[in-house]
C-alpha cells in the first residue's frame, strides 16, 4: 500500500474516502457510495451530461478536454454498441495518483463508469489498468465482483431496467497504451499503435462503436459532481477550470506525496508550503508541472496558478498534475537525456518523426552530455523537436519534442557549459555509464 500524506490546504473530493477502508463495499455504502448512480438514473441521461458540463470538469489524464463536452459528442443513435473505457494505464513520469484511487476508493471508479455509461446508453464498460498494477487489478476485480454480488451491476441495476456490465482488463507494459486510441487497440488484442483522428473515439471507438474514454481520476470525480452538484464542483476551482485535482509532487522536495488541491492553487505555494520546500537546503532550479511531457518552468516562472488555462498561457500545461521539482544541483542536460531516453524506449515506432526523432535526440544528448558535443548540436536539438511537433498520429511525438524545445531555450547556458569536452559541471560520470542512457 502506498503512503498517504496530507496538508491543511487540501480540499478532499476525489480523495475524501482515502484511508477509510472504502474498498470494502459496505464501508463504501456508509460513505455515500452508490448514491450518485441512483441519482443519475432518476435524473436521466441528458441531465447527467449537463451536470458534468456545468462542473467544468476537464480530463485529468493529460489533455484536459472538457469531460461533459466529450460525452455529448457520442451520437444518440448508433449502429454499433457503445462503450465506456476507464484509462488506468497511468505511466506518465511524475504521475502516481490514479494508483491511489484504485487502491483506496475502487468503487468510486465503478460508479463513475456506471454514470458515464448511463449518460450515453452504453451497456459495457472496461477498466483498463497497466500490467504492473497487479495488486490494484486484484482490488478492482474484487470490487467489481462485490458490486455484481450485491446486484449493483448486471441486469436491471437498482431496479431501473438498465443493464450494465463492467470488466477489468490488464495491460502488459507500454506507456503508449495510455494514449486513448492505442489503449483501444490494446484492448482489441493488438500492438498499442495509435489510430489517426478524426474519427474520434466518441464516434468510432472500441470495436468501431461510439466510446467514451476517460482517465481514472476524471471518472472518479463524476459521482462527487452528481452528489454535490456541478456548480459546487465548478466553484471549487477557477472559471472554466472546475474542481480539485490530485497533484503528484515528486523530486527534490522535503514532502513528496499526492495532495488534492483546488485548481488554481499556486505552484510556488505547493512546493514551499505543501511540499515543505526544496530539500537539503538547496535552491529551486526548475519545475515540470504536469508530468514529463510538458514544457519546463524556470524557478522564476513558478509563481503561477495551477489550472489548465493559466499554465497554457505561459507555454506549459497542467497535464497529469505530476509536479516534478529540480534543485540547483540537478543537471538539466542529464535530466533531458533521461526524459528523452524514456520517449525513445516507449515510442511505438509507427510514425517516422517520433521513431527516428526520439532516437536521434537521445544519441545527440548522450554524446553531448558525455563531452562530445559541438555548438551546432544545441540548435539541432531544437530543430529536431520542432520537426516532430504535430507530425505524428498521437501526442507522444509532441511529448518528446516539448521538453527538448523548452529546456534548450530556457537553459541554453547549461548546454554551452558542456561544450568543448568539458565535463558536466554537476557530476563526474560519463553519459555512457549513465543509468538510463542504455541503448536497447
Amino acid at each position: 500500500m502506498a503512503d498517504l500524506v496530507s496538508h491543511p490546504d487540501e480540499v478532499k473530493v476525489v480523495s475524501r474516502r482515502f484511508g477509510q477502508g472504502a474498498a470494502n463495499l459496505d464501508r463504501y455504502l456508509e460513505l455515500d457510495g452508490y448514491k450518485a448512480i441512483q441519482k443519475a438514473l432518476a435524473m436521466g441521461a441528458d441531465a447527467v451530461i449537463n451536470e458534468v458540463k456545468a462542473s467544468n470538469l476537464r480530463g485529468r489524464g493529460g489533455a484536459g478536454f472538457p469531460t461533459g463536452m466529450k460525452w455529448s459528442f457520442v451520437p444518440k443513435q448508433a449502429a454499433k454498441p457503445k462503450y465506456v473505457l476507464c484509462n488506468g494505464d497511468e505511466s506518465e513520469p511524475g504521475t502516481c495518483k490514479d494508483r491511489l484511487i484504485f487502491e483506496q476508493d475502487p468503487h468510486s471508479l465503478i460508479e463513475g463508469v456506471m454514470i458515464a455509461a448511463f449518460s450515453i446508453n452504453s451497456h459495457q464498460g472496461y477498466i483498463y489498468l497497466r500490467g504492473e498494477y497487479r495488486y490494484l487489478i486484484e482490488i478492482m476485480e474484487r470490487a467489481v465482483a462485490d458490486a455484481y454480488a450485491r446486484g449493483f451491476l448486471g441486469k436491471n441495476i437498482f431496479g431501473s431496467g438498465y443493464d450494465l456490465d463492467i470488466f477489468v482488463h490488464s495491460g502488459a507494459g507500454a506507456y503508449e497504451v495510455g494514449e486513448e486510441s492505442a489503449l483501444m487497440e490494446s484492448l482489441e488484442g493488438k500492438r498499442g499503435v495509435p489510430r489517426i483522428r478524426p474519427p474520434f473515439p466518441a464516434v468510432v471507438g472500441l470495436y468501431g462503436g461510439p466510446t467514451i474514454i476517460n482517465n481514472a481520476e476524471t471518472l472518479a470525480s463524476v459521482p462527487h459532481i452528481l452528489l454535490g452538484g456541478g456548480e459546487w464542483f465548478a466553484n471549487l476551482g477557477t472559471p472554466k477550470n472546475g474542481g480539485t485535482r490530485l497533484f503528484s509532487l515528486s523530486g527534490c522536495v522535503n514532502r513528496p506525496g499526492v495532495y488534492e488541491l483546488p485548481l488554481g492553487y499556486n505552484l510556488k505555494k505547493l512546493i514551499e508550503e505543501v511540499g515543505g520546500g526544496v530539500w537539503k537546503g538547496r535552491k529551486l532550479k526548475a519545475v515540470v508541472p504536469g508530468g514529463s511531457s510538458v514544457p519546463i518552468l524556470k524557478a522564476d516562472e513558478c509563481d503561477v496558478n495551477l489550472d489548465f488555462d493559466s499554465l497554457m498561457k505561459i507555454g506549459t500545461m497542467l497535464g497529469s498534475g505530476g509536479v516534478i521539482v529540480l534543485d540547483d544541483q540537478t543537471c538539466v542536460v542529464r535530466f533531458l537525456l533521461r526524459t528523452i531516453s524514456f520517449y525513445q524506449h516507449e515510442s511505438c515506432g509507427w510514425c517516422i518523426p517520433c521513431r527516428e526523432g526520439t532516437d536521434w535526440l537521445k544519441k545527440t544528448l548522450k554524446r553531448f552530455h558525455g563531452g562530445g558535443g559541438v555548438a551546432k548540436d544545441i540548435d539541432n536539438l531544437a530543430y529536431l523537436g520542432e520537426n516532430m511537433m504535430g507530425r505524428t498520429f498521437c501526442p507522444l511525438g509532441d511529448a518528446a519534442a516539448m521538453p527538448v524545445i523548452g529546456i534548450v531555450k530556457k537553459f541554453r547556458e547549461e548546454f554551452e557549459a558542456h561544450l568543448d569536452g568539458r565535463p558536466c559541471p554537476f557530476e563526474a560520470k560519463e553519459a555512457s555509464e549513465l543509468v538510463g542512457a542504455r541503448t536497447e
Binding site: P81, C96, Y135, A174, F335
Partner: protein, 160 residues
C-alpha cells in the same frame, strides 16, 4: 496444452467479457507468463490456436509489450525504476547497488535462476521514490542499503 486450473477458469470467464475473442490475448499472455516464468513456444502456439491467430501475429503482439518476454527470467524479477523522478532522489545509486548485490546487469539472470534484473521506466511510485518492483510487489523510498536488505530477504525466502 492445458494451463493451470486457475488460469483456465479465468480464461473461460474472460472469453465472455468481449465481443471479439482476440481481446483476451494481452492479459492471457501476461497471466500465462506468470505461471511459466516466460512465454514458451508451446504456450504461444496454444494461445494462438485458441484465438484463431497465427503464431507470427502473437509474436508481433508479444514484442510490443515490455512485461512480456520469451526469454527465461529469474524467480524474482527485480525491476528498478531509473526514470526522472526516481533519478532525482537517487535511483542510480540504488540500481548500482542492485547490480553489485546480484552480480548481474540489465536484462540478465543469475546462474542459479533466482534473480533477474531490469532497469525500467516509471512504475507509478514517483512520490515514494526511489522505487522498484520485485515481480509485482512494490518496494519504495529506497536507499542502496534498503535495496540490498530487501534482496537479501528474497534470497532467504527462496532458500527456505
Amino acid at each position: 496444452m492445458q494451463f493451470s486450473e486457475k488460469f483456465e477458469k479465468r480464461f473461460a470467464a474472460w472469453l465472455t467479457h468481449y465481443p471479439v475473442k482476440r481481446s483476451v490475448l494481452v492479459p492471457s499472455l501476461l497471466y500465462v507468463q506468470d505461471e511459466l516464468g516466460h512465454l514458451t513456444d508451446e504456450a504461444i502456439a496454444e494461445l494462438a490456436a485458441r484465438l484463431d491467430l497465427s503464431v507470427l501475429e502473437v509474436n508481433n503482439v508479444i514484442s510490443y509489450y515490455s512485461l512480456l518476454t520469451r526469454k527465461p527470467k529469474g524467480r524474482y524479477h527485480v525491476q528498478v525504476c531509473t526514470n526522472i523522478c526516481c533519478m532525482l532522489r537517487g535511483a542510480e545509486e540504488v540500481y548500482e547497488a542492485a547490480q553489485k548485490k546480484l552480480g548481474i546487469g540489465h536484462k540478465q539472470v543469475t546462474p542459479d535462476a533466482r534473480f533477474s534484473l531490469e532497469e525500467v521506466e516509471c512504475i507509478g511510485a514517483c512520490s515514494w521514490g526511489p522505487a522498484m518492483q520485485v515481480n509485482y510487489d512494490y518496494h519504495e523510498k529506497l536507499t542502496p542499503e534498503a535495496a540490498e536488505r530487501i534482496l537479501d530477504e528474497y534470497r532467504t525466502k527462496d532458500t527456505q
